[in-house]
């Protein structure tokens, strides 16, 4: 029953947040980048998806917002915080809806999340810069979809190891 304790939940959440920040940093120091503005591989999205599937939707939303803020501060991309906040919020909400309708596996949810992240960033850019940024939607959408598939793969591989991806209060934990 100890998995129900709020302390454990908070510790787990913090641990995952740290993991997501490390992944953001690793992504930032990679020697190659995707040549489309605003589009990244989105390693941190792996952890976000994990939180969405093993914790609750409110946790995932909080996770996304905190990650966007903290990685903005840590990586010194203050100008990007608003963009990634818009992207994250839209992505988490969309992924939560898709997950809820039960038609899609984590692949569909991951890809839709990636595309929505791009769309959210374009929303932010069209507000801050100029509405003409929407002309980049095809490029951003298609490259984001590809990134969504790439970030889904590690999750899939992790899922093969039983017990790792048990939800909070899942069957393995309830045995205790």
């Amino acid at each position: 029953m100890w998995d129900k304790s709020p302390t454990r939940r908070i510790a787990r959440f913090a641990l995952l947040l740290a993991a997501a920040l490390i992944l953001s940093w690793v992504e930032a120091i990679l020697p190659f980048q995707i040549p489309v503005p605003g589009v990244k591989l989105g390693f941190a999205n792996i952890v976000l998806l994990y939180v969405l599937y093993t914790d609750s939707v409110p946790s995932a939303v909080t996770f996304g917002i905190l990650r966007a803020l903290l990685s903005g501060f840590f990586l010194g991309r203050l100008s990007g915080i608003f963009f990634s906040l818009c992207g994250t919020v839209l992505a988490v909400c969309g992924m939560a809806l898709l997950k809820k309708c039960r038609c899609f596996s984590s692949l569909g949810v991951s890809v839709a999340g990636a595309v929505l992240h791009g769309v959210g960033q374009l929303c932010a850019a069209s507000l801050l810069l100029t509405p003409a940024v929407w002309s980049m939607l095809p490029l951003v959408g298609i490259s984001s979809a590809a990134c969504g598939v790439v970030t889904w793969l590690p999750l899939r591989i992790l899922g093969r190891y039983e017990g790792i991806l048990e939800p909070l209060g899942g069957k393995n934990m309830n045995k205790d």
């Binding site: 990007g80 850019a125 100029t130 003409a132 959408g141």
Partner: protein, 114 residues
Amino acid sequence: MNQKVRIWDFLLIAALVAACACAWLIPRETGASATVSVDGEIVAVLPLSQEGEFLLPMGGRVVVRDGKVSLCDAVCEDKLCENMGEISEEGQTILCLPLRVSVVISGEVDAYVG
């Protein structure tokens, strides 16, 4: 998370990609001028018919050559804006998110007043 991938996943991905591809296929015409904005405010309008250069206040140049526009010597950290290459069709855009600069091609020359 361990569910099997379903046909719906592929349909969803196909639908998203198709929607983006459709937006790509809309024919565009060659533009007449390039509007340079910083922080959402227009700072310059360059006609594509003549060669020219605009120095951005924070560093970097918007260059018009052979009817095509590109951004050079940007001072941002990622240089994605430089890598976007040359644009010349109506609606095409060069963006630099770190510098908050956008260059948009528009159809009319007299779009800029004042």
